[in-house]
Amino acid sequence: MALVPAPSNDRKRVKVYELKNNDWFDRGTGFCKGVVVSQDEAKILVASEDDPTRQLLETKISKDDGYQKQQDTLIVWTEQNGTDMALSFQEPEGCAGIWDFVNEVQSRLQALAQDDGLSDDIGESVNPIMLPLPELGNLHEIENHMRAANTTPGGREALAKFILSQDYIPKLIPLVEMAEDLESASDLHRLCSIMKMLILLNDTAIIEYVVTDDVVIGVVGALEYDPDFPLHKANHRQYLSDESRFKEVVKIEEQAIRKKIHYTYRLQYLKDVVLARILDDPTFSVLNSLIFFHQVDIVQHLQANGAFLKELFGIFGAEERDLQRKKDAVLFIQQCCAIAKSLQVSARAQLYQNFINNGLLDVIQYALRHHDASVRVAGTDILVALIDHDALMVRSKIFQAIQEKTKPLTDTLIELLLIEVDLGVKAQMADAIKILLDPNANSASIEALGRTNSDFLAKVRGTLPAMPQTDNFIQSFYDESARKLFQPLKDLEGRKTMDNLSIQEVSLYSHLVEVLCFFIRQHSFRSKYFILSEGLGARVAQLMDCPEKHLKLTSLKYFRTCIGLHDDFHNRQIIQHHLFEPILKILFDTMPRDNLLNSACLELFEFIKRENIKIIVTHLVETYREKLAAITYVDTFQSLILRYDQMHEPPTTQELENSFTSVDSDTPARNVGIMNGGRWGQALKDADAEEEAYLNGSDDDDDDGLPSAVKPVLNGASPVRPLVSYPDDEGDDDDMDILATSAPLVSPHNISSATQTQETPVTSPSPKPTGATPPERISEKRRREEDEEDELLANISNSSTKRRASLSSNSSTASTGSMQRLRRKPGINSGKDNGGGPKKISLSIPLKSGGEGGEGD
């Protein structure tokens, strides 16, 4: 038997993907070739482009029909061991070459197998199907035929082959208009059912075909008459015929790309509108991956097209007079960046690099100052995407600007935040400032970058002039910009009344206080001295005098954040300036009503009590003893006083025992985190060595309080451990990852997130697949029916979360870091284990009763 000729092995550049945990994991880029090993064995090999001696892929071509070609550049198959793999070719020719090779090898192998008389199911799968030539009279028959064929995998396959090979769809299309002319609702409904069935065959080729220019209008025309809605006709044709929806800011010369843009749009329309209600999971994921690969192609093409970029960014030059065009160009870039979020990190880096070289930062500056709020929104969007992608790079640019004595982006942002009138944009700008100054924000992208492509990382590092440390950046922020940012707060000094704040002021102050909360958590010691030198604590306290309750609440949260840090520096500040005065005022104003403000106050005092923050307890009781003693509607304040008394009286043996139990069991920070949202981890982490040193250097004269950070645990908390794993516990990461990934439920929603996520600021070191990994799993992507479990939080934490989601609430502190915490270790508590008893309860009972026992009498 003649050997299959190996395909001409010119270098076919290709990316190798492997499906891991329902994300396409990039195994690297290399050159692909097909080799014939022997008469009955052929392989596909991919050698790494960085290191040609390293094989990224070596796979034996099997005779079974497991290979699929999608679009022009993608081959997908399942390995013998069940792993799903994909090759994404740079050139369609390369793909076609390998595809032909695979086909030839397969047919030869199958012929061989048949010769041996070992053919198993081949006969069945080629069982052909014939449908009659469609006309209005036989639609019923066709529908029944199709329904029958639809029930078996073989039938579906045969049906798909027949439909394509016989050009069946174009034959169906004219019937729609005929039936419309005859006003034959039943025929129209049948046509719709037939068309739905065709698409839900979930054959990539068919789906790609139905959105081509020739047939798309006809296809959606048929789909307008849904038998499920007999009295309703959709207007898909009208919608899709409207050419004006396509905005071409800069002419795209490449026909293929233009086509792809339209196809993508139609695919989205199919997915969101036409089929939204009836999509099954496999079809949904096929649509998604088609859309994804199209978008990747489009964006890759554009960002590599120098002339195009030049013209695009040229629009922002002085000679362009058309303001609408400028606006559209901003929106265009925004859309590019949105798509880029789902690109591979290296591809995305390249895109941003090209954009920046063409002047992206100027565009952002332009957009941020635009009079139209929607453009400002787009501008901040682009900026946030850029920072999320690579905060280091943005910061280095800002550094550069500072050195060149031009106005850095931070200052622009600050100025704009202070004057922004659109409250939504204002919120977004406040978020952007936070992200820019988040010391954890850089690690994710660089880490991911290093993983995917170390060469590239080196290149990037090379191009950036001496990567400035995040630390320096933050330092310079406090040297230069922070004052400007918080000036409005400072200006409150001497203000007589808070009664007449404008809406704008209220919103500005709450953003500023939230940013300040973020800063004291994230850059503890710099912010500390900044706050001290500017006297901001007292200013925030002043805000509690305003009539707007939500602003009171925000201010209160500032103090809760400070106290939550377990830092006596903050605590002394608060005490020294008598800042509990306004807090108690809120408490007395609201009590004993049961409302949010009152609860927030109680939570604060509960925290102080539970943590037994001695310096504060002492201050409170010594200053306000009588006032506090009068509060009886909760026992928090009695307990506070008791704490104080225990501290200051020589304990009897009995009391010693009591107080020992109560302090021990009630104190641990861990417990606190659990009570109110788990932010202790972040708080404690901030007390790092550097800070310690800093503090010791300048401020070690008074030692009356506790050590500056109450370290997490006395003995009481240990039982919690087995239940919840914390990211800080090194060595746990593996377990957690296994747990997270082994959950079969991780799959369903990666799609929705992958298309829209940004890099997460991962504080944990665990290498997790980020939302940047591209192609979609071919099947099982989404499981809507079994609802309960797909709401797993673990799921979300696995697909990366949108950062703005976590940032815009000042309380969601440790966004991703803390997400890990909720993945509990497997096998600790079966939950059904009657004898052993639940761990959690055995923890909490002694805790509480111990505490109250100590205080109650």
Binding site: D226, A234, Y239, R245, F246, T264, V273, A276, R277, D328, L331, F332, S374, G424, A427, Q428, K557, D594, N595, L596, S599, A600, E603, V634, T636, E657, M675, N676, G678, S752, Q756, R784, E785, D787, E788, E789, E791, L792, L793, I796, T801, K802, A805, S809, S812, S818, L822, N834, G837, P838, I841, S842, S844, I845, S849, E852, G853, G854, G856, D857
Partner: protein, 470 residues
């Protein structure tokens, strides 16, 4: 720009037609709502009569159907237990309409927070995308998320009647009338279909309830022996009342409504008050548990497969109810094909109000009506802090499992021993259901309904992307 009075009514009209209101109105609305919600406690007090609803999930047309079946606002008082958004295609319209109604009739409608009322969840499950599509920016999503942070965590319904005033609605077809209680009996449970026809009725303290008790509690999905009505629903879900046969005194306890369930960190309702709820839903801790936990057929607490919250068993529910003088916990959070499902001897009920969930699950939905206790002898709200000296002992009780009746790990040594014993005894008796101490459940009228007729609306679809560059 300001939204109030007639503007508000206009907005309501517009939203009822499933048309979004302009961004600036959303902002005003959200600010107004924030002012209101900040005054609510973490657990809102609600007086019966009230109709309790479960998850809505952006199924706007089905929400309209709900109002049709349950009565319109403000004629009917409503309590929605969260999960207004995500999954369905009209989260925005659904949530904004509910919020408008809240602002317009603050005392008539109560909204509490579900696990989907969160930034992180909505970015994954649809609400974020929907806002982006409908407004072109995330601003509206931000405003809504800000409101989410202010939503109460639970509600406490007081003053509910122990028995229902009988409806004079017609009987549904195929009802076997012989199973019906006497006309003068105290009706504890009644199930009506969407047309107000009676599908099932059950009296309190009646021996003739063989049909009810014979229903396998563990298999609520099995077709009911009663009422195979056109709406496919019998009285499934009522795992009712084999043990709830106490006397007919009018002393029903309060009903706690939360989205998810209980938390091991919360043993009294007053503890919920000590939370600062104005935050993104955390990933652990009491607030998280209230929104994420599920009841399950286990003893004590178990890990939740959801990755947040816990599973809790019958013993936990019974202890909690006893300790807090509750007769029932109403919660949502889990799809139940029959619309509602009572568990653990009717000490907890799941109410689900999104029919044909995700436009494909084929389930029916339900709402739970609690009547007003006309005799005024109903539950009197506790003043805070009257737990008094019982504290130590009560807590000990939660260590007691049902099965083994073993005493967990004995609790702390030392003080409060006398209390503990008393508390323990009471706890045991309540857990074992031996005495009449168990609070009687309120009279419960479930209205079951299916998805809105499809032709009453367009085909559900997402809003297409308007303009495109790429």
């Amino acid at each position: 720009m300001s939204i109030g009075g007639s503007d508000l009514d206009k907005a309501i009209t517009q939203l009822r037609a499933c048309r979004p209101i302009p961004e600036n109105q959303v902002r005003e609305l959200c600010y107004k709502a924030r002012e209101l919600l900040i005054e609510e406690g973490n657990v809102v007090g609600v007086d019966a009569p009230v109709t309790i609803c479960g998850d809505i999930h952006g199924q706007f047309h089905d929400l309209m159907e709900l109002f049709r079946v349950g009565g319109d606002v403000p004629e009917t008082n409503y309590l929605f237990m969260g999960d207004f958004v995500d999954r369905g295609f009209y989260s925005l319209e659904s949530f904004l309409l509910l919020l408008c109604l809240k602002v317009r009739y603050p005392d008539r409608i109560t909204l509490i927070r579900g696990n989907h009322e969160s930034r992180q969840i909505t970015t994954v499950y649809g609400f974020y995308d929907e806002c982006l599509r409908k407004y072109g920016s995330a601003n509206v999503w931000r405003y809504c998320c800000e409101v989410f942070d202010y939503l109460a965590l639970g509600a406490l319904v007081t003053g509910a009647a122990t028995s229902l005033s009988p409806t004079d609605g017609p009987l549904a077809e195929n009802i076997n009338i012989e199973n019906f209680p006497e006309a003068d009996a105290d009706i504890e449970i009644e199930t009506l279909n969407a047309n107000g026809e009676i599908m099932y009725r059950c009296a309190r303290n009646s021996d003739s309830q063989s049909s009810v008790t014979s229903q396998p509690n563990s298999n609520p999905a099995s077709s009911s022996p009663i009422a195979p009505t056109p709406s496919r629903v019998g009285a499934a879900g009522t795992g009712a009342t084999s043990s709830a046969n106490g006397s007919t005194r009018n002393d029903t306890g309060a009903i706690l409504c939360v989205h998810g369930g209980l938390s091991p960190l919360i043993d009294t309702i007053d503890k919920i008050r000590l939370l600062d709820r104005k935050q993104e839903v955390p990933h652990e801790g009491a607030m998280c548990d209230l929104l994420w936990s599920d009841p399950d057929e286990i003893d004590g607490w178990g890990l939740s497969p959801r990755g947040a919250g816990f599973l809790f068993g019958a013993d936990i529910v019974k202890c909690f109810n006893h300790k807090n003088d509750l007769s029932l916990i109403a919660r949502a959070h889990q799809l139940v094909m029959e619309g509602f499902k009572e568990m653990f001897d009717s000490t907890i009920v799941t109410v689900w109000s999104a029919p044909n969930y995700c436009y494909r699950c084929g389930n029916v939905a339900a709402i739970l009506e609690l009547g007003e206790d006309g005799s005024n002898a109903g539950y009197v709200r506790r003043s805070n802090g009257d737990q008094g000296g019982g504290g130590g002992g009560w807590i000990l009780g939660s260590n007691v499992g049902v099965g083994g009746v073993g005493i967990g790990n004995g609790g702390p040594t030392g003080g409060g021993n006398g209390n503990s014993v008393g508390g323990l005894n009471r706890r045991l008796s309540s857990v074992l259901g031996e005495s009449g101490r168990t609070r009687e459940g309120p009279g419960r009228r479930y209205r079951v309904f299916e998805a809105a007729p499809q032709d009453s609306r367009g085909m559900p679809a997402k809003k297409p992307v308007a303009d495109y560059f790429l």
